[in-house]
Amino acid sequence: MANKASETPDDQDIPFMQRLLDNPFILLFLGVASPTILYIVWGIIEVAQIPIAN
């Protein structure tokens, strides 16, 4: 740990939230995953469960 610190001096110091907010691609992943799962996929599952009329 201690000797590695000199290679990436400040990487370790940056708080988690800041690293998250500074990474547009993780944010992109979260922003697409959230509505896809909670809105689209869940919604489609509900529609798929509607019985077909005879």
């Binding site: 907010l21 944010l27 979260l30 922003g31 509505p35 509900e46």
Partner: protein, 564 residues
Amino acid sequence: MASAANFRTCPDTGLKVDRTAEALIKANAVVAVVFLAVGGLFGVLVAMTRWPAVHLLDADMFYLVLTAHGADVLLFWILFFEVAILYFASAILLNSRLATPKFAWLAFIMMVVGAVMANVAVLQGDSTVMFTSYVPMKAEPHFYLGLIIFAVGALIALFVFFATLVVAKNEKTYEGSVPLVTFGAITAAIIAVFTIASGAVILIPTWLWSMGFIANIDTLLYKIIWWGMGHSSQQINVAAHVAVWYCIAAMVLGAKPLSEKVSRTAFLLYILFLQLASAHHLLVEPGVSSEWKIFNTSYAMYLAVLGSMIHGLSVPGAIEAAQRRRGFTHGIFEWLRKAPWGNPAFSGMFMSLVMFGFLGGISGVVMGTEQINLIIHNTLYVPGHFHATVVAGTTLTFMAVTYLVVPLIFRREIILPGMAKWQPYIFGIGVAGISLFMMGAGTLGVARRHWDITFTDAIMSVEVPGTAFLMMGLNGISALLAGVGGAMYVVIVVGSVLFGKRRDEAVAKANPIIFDGGAAVANYGSEEQVKVPGTIVLVAIFFTAFVLYYFVNWKFLSEVWPLS
């Protein structure tokens, strides 16, 4: 690939400006204004038809024009302008070259071709399906194809934006975190990716169905996925116009956010939750459960509303702090009284903030609640609400920022400054009117998207209260006012771009328009002094109005359905 970018130095800000990015911003902004002009005119025609005493268009024409109005303003005006904002927030604010300019031009051309194709389809008359194009109503194939080409173009523009972020980072054109305005633009772009993906998933099969290659599209499935696009696209607007609020406050007054962390967290709430509210468009659909509806429109949605409330405190707070820093410290509201009300960039932005919150925000939370939604579902209340969000909110904000874009990017002085000063007020008051009066008519039961509120030839007669007619008349008058305000905007913008005095270095020195060279926009940094009593009072008024209106609606619901 490594295109040698060609930069100029901006005399107003000292920032390096990539000339290609600049040309693309101009192109997208110009086309946006053209669609606003066309679509706005259609809006006035629609309102003149819904004014019973005028009843301008015949029924077929009414629905045709309504379809064109929705598509031209909601999709084309706003998305072209947003692409311009994305290029500004990436290449210009980060001092970088724009990545892959050829793709950016390809995106632009595809968006133009798609938008024109969809317009042609609608105006030919066989694609009167409203911009929602619910199946099984069928439009001509080139209507869907136009929308698809437009969407793919917009997707390419998003890639250019994300690639520019990477270029700027690799070429170290900025240090640390991106500026807040860029962060807001990233939020908008992320929501846009989901929006366009949903659009593609549903419109491509619908296009194939319109040509007969697919037999059937499930109507409920269509609505779910279509609203993944239709609703989320409105959230691109919210993220973008909030970013522009911060941008205008910073440019005009040097306002910095009270807390970068808090404002960014509010944008993160948008990224995670805002798009779930798509479900509020399906609140009365049988076939999806109340769990799905309530989770997506209440529990999760309120987290996104929290984000908006944070911005609603943070933007006026930043303005108040900046004004106090400049010495307007008397009493609670001197900062507000002495704000630059004669500057259309500021006045448009501040009115937009107030109307978006009071008219759009409050009505949105009310109608997004499953139970009370029933009172106003599919009435004119709905367009009343979203003209407060997307016209008073987004459109007025974009108009306001144009008063900075024309001098800074087009390098032209604004012509007719006296008229420009009044333009946001006239448009703003008109829009407040159309929002309020449509909401009023909706509360009285007037249906949306309807040519004849009296149902003249219906078998059962319908009683419409006289006040509803009054509301529709007042709506018509407000629409004329908004139309005049919109026309003033188009005249000023087009006139300035073509005939405005060139803004060279000497003019820029003589007539500075942005505070301190825009340092507050282009850098990370929070306000130091965060005592903002005036803003706290405004927020308290807002909450009181909100709570009262919310409970009044529950009371109203109990009267609609007497349970005893």
